[in-house]
């Protein structure tokens, strides 16, 4: 690891404030929506928003204090939430995973899984093509046998399965 990789992408304090802020907003949304459906006492008992209203209040209260404390916390201002090197690794996982999840619908789960595993083996593991293809296809075939054949759970399928008449 060189120095570049050790540099923080964000400090703990920044993240602490951002997350508390987002949760505060969530609390506010809960409060407003509860007021919309009614957070009071009606003739027939508590209205739909009666309970969530207080839930929202508590979210806002607790996150406001967390945020206030983080603003004055010097120790956290100097601490890295995630370093550049670690962040790159996390993105290496997160971006392909998002693409994978997005691919499931158009091409089906099994094809998407095969591509996903193959991508990881090539890029992170640097395996030769043959090993990559054998393992990636093998894993998907095992999953197919397990879920479609043994447990009879239909998973999303795409054009390949339609062409092979497997669905």
């Amino acid at each position: 690891m060189n120095d570049q990789n050790e540099r923080p992408v964000a400090t703990v304090r920044t993240l602490e404030i951002v997350v508390a802020g987002l949760l505060f907003l969530l609390g506010a949304v809960v409060i407003f929506d509860s007021m919309r459906v009614g957070a009071k006492w009606a003739d027939d008992g508590p209205q739909a928003g009666y309970f969530p209203f207080y839930v929202g209040l508590l979210i806002c209260f607790s996150t406001a204090v967390v945020m206030y404390r983080a603003l004055g916390d010097r120790a956290k201002a100097g601490k890295a939430f995630v370093t550049r090197g670690a962040f790159r690794l996390v993105l290496w996982m997160l971006v392909p995973s998002s693409v994978y999840v997005a691919l499931i619908k158009p091409v089906g789960l099994y094809v998407a899984s095969t591509l996903f595993i193959a991508f990881f083996m090539r890029r992170l593991g640097r395996y030769p093509w043959l090993t990559t293809i054998v393992v990636a296809v093998g894993v998907s075939v095992v999953f197919f046998l397990l879920f479609e054949v043994w447990f009879k759970l239909p998973l999303p399928k795409g054009p390949l399965e339609a062409w092979l008449k497997l669905d």
């Binding site: 969530l26 949304v29 929506d33 508590p46 739909a48 969530p52 929202g56 290496w92 619908k105």
Partner: protein, 497 residues
């Protein structure tokens, strides 16, 4: 002894060849789940839950609870061999387990860990056998105010026991309640927090949240820590097992204390993780070799493992008798009961005797099965960890995606899982505890309806929560726990001044 007869009946339910097979399958799957990063007890059970929808409920819960026992056993393997806790509750096991492994005594450490786990679980199961019918009978008289007080107590206990993170515990818990409120309100028929999205009509399913928060979130965290599995090799032979078993009776007092800590922490929702740390601390203080702890003492493995397993097991007691799970995994099992059409709570002991006692009997059998499996198959499980990360990581994500999809056969859930995963990663890094969020998400609707019914009965008068000694006592205790962190801070400041 009515319990003994019921238990014997339970054994006759659990001891069918099919159920025995499920037990072994469950334990093996559980150990694998416990060993792999990114898969743990809670989300492992959540992913496999849809596979059991078609099974009879008794067989289904036997398999799922055995997965849980397996995961509890499995966490110790990675702690001792690789210094990587496979599960949060086995962090304390690394303190002495890994040094033992480095000294070439991995076999003894593993035997001690597995045996202690077994003993901790056994003590907890015996307690469940005799205590749960009593609690259930007692709880039969509960009305909505009492039930709400129990929920309140559960959630306030989380706050009271959170170390210095009381506000974050509250925030995370309330987010859980807010997520639980999303969707159609069954009482008034109005839509809450859906903002016109039809996908949100059904609300958030906690299974998706569990798979995302604990599965995807965990993978991201593991990745960041960097994965290098370099560890002691594991060989357990009969000689090592017998030798270790000869040594273990020396630590009977530690076992007893740790079991007590574990049972207590499991029933109040402290959970296995704090129980294991607490038991390690207690053992260190009281042991004659206390100062040697951390250098590879067998006693230092016995204490946390006994407590973790005792806590993990006894978390099922409030789940079965009151419908209040003591841990995220117990919460997932509770979700399973609801899906199979069983209402957890005191009535379960009256109406579903076969199910309840079959489950309790299976806890005895499942832990015996677990002990056999882990003692004989350690090298096999350790080998799983040698599968390169670039294969195992995408495979785990695929499994999580399949698990999320099969809950409702909906792609929306898979997208949601990824969002929960990112949230779980960030929240965990900022020390927001996730267990209260999951528990609130599971119990939100039930807690709210208990609250509403109590309020209806009293016409909005909060004093109903103090209307008799029982409910008043529970509410008071809950409030004390809720404000305990505040009291502590004030006391500390007063002392410093």
């Amino acid at each position: 002894m009515e319990e003994i007869t019921s238990l014997l009946n339970g054994f006759s339910v659990a001891l069918t060849p099919f159920n025995l097979m499920l037990m072994f399958v469950g334990v093996v799957l559980g150990v694998i789940i416990g060993v792999l990063p990114g898969l743990g007890g809670a989300n492992g059970v959540a992913i496999l839950l849809p596979l059991t929808f078609t099974m009879p409920p008794t067989s289904a819960i036997i398999m799922l609870s055995c997965i849980y026992w397996g995961a509890l056993f499995g966490g110790a393997i990675t702690s001792i061999l690789f210094n990587i806790p496979g599960e949060p509750w086995s962090v304390a096991t690394t303190f002495d387990g890994f040094p033992l492994g480095q000294k070439g005594r991995a076999g003894s450490a593993l035997t001690a860990a597995f045996t202690s786990s077994f003993i901790g679980a056994l003590v907890a199961v015996i307690m469940i056998t005799f205590l749960s019918p009593v609690v259930a009978k007692f709880a039969l008289a509960f009305g909505p105010p009492e039930f709400f007080a129990v929920y309140l107590l559960t959630f306030c206990a989380f706050v009271g026991m959170s170390k210095g993170q009381a506000l974050k515990t509250i925030a995370s818990m309330m987010v859980g309640f807010a997520l639980a409120a999303v969707g159609l309100d069954t009482v008034t028929g109005s839509l809450r927090l859906t903002f016109g999205f039809t996908e949100l009509l059904q609300g958030f399913d906690f299974l998706i949240a569990v798979i995302g928060l604990f599965g995807i979130g965990e993978i991201l965290l593991t990745l960041e820590e960097g994965l290098a599995f370099k560890g002691a090799s594991a060989r357990i032979n009969v000689k090592v097992v017998v030798e270790t078993w000869r040594e273990l009776p020396r630590y009977w007092l530690t076992s007893l204390r740790s079991s007590a800590v574990g049972c207590f922490m499991g029933i109040v929702p402290g959970g296995a993780t704090p129980a294991s740390f607490m038991a390690y601390g207690v053992a260190k203080r009281f042991s004659r070799d206390g100062e040697k702890f951390g250098t590879g003492q067998v006693e230092g493995v016995v204490a946390p493992e006994t407590a973790a397993h005792a806590a993990g097991t006894s978390a099922l007691l409030p789940m079965l008798t009151l419908g209040v799970p003591g841990s995220p995994t117990a919460a997932v099992l509770l979700g399973g009961l609801l899906i199979w059409g069983l209402q957890p709570g005191p009535l379960l002991f009256q109406e579903q005797k076969e199910f309840v006692w079959g489950l309790i009997a299976s806890m005895y059998l499942g832990n015996i099965a677990g002990l056999i499996v882990v003692l004989t198959c350690v090298p096999l499980f350790a080998a799983i960890l040698r599968i390169p990360f670039s294969i195992i990581a995408p495979a785990i994500i695929v499994i999580c995606a399949i698990g999320a999809y099969t809950v409702h056969n909906s792609m929306f859930d898979v997208y949601l899982m990824l969002v929960f995963g990112i949230a779980g990663y960030v929240l965990r890094k900022l020390d927001y505890p996730l267990a209260p969020l999951v528990l609130a998400l599971v119990l939100g609707d039930r807690a709210e309806s208990a609250f509403r019914q109590a309020m209806l009965a009293s016409q909005g008068d909060m004093s109903i929560f103090f209307s008799n000694a029982l409910v008043g006592g529970m509410t008071t205790l809950a409030l004390v726990l809720l404000f305990w962190p505040l009291v502590q801070t004030v006391l500390r400041k007063a002392k410093a001044a």
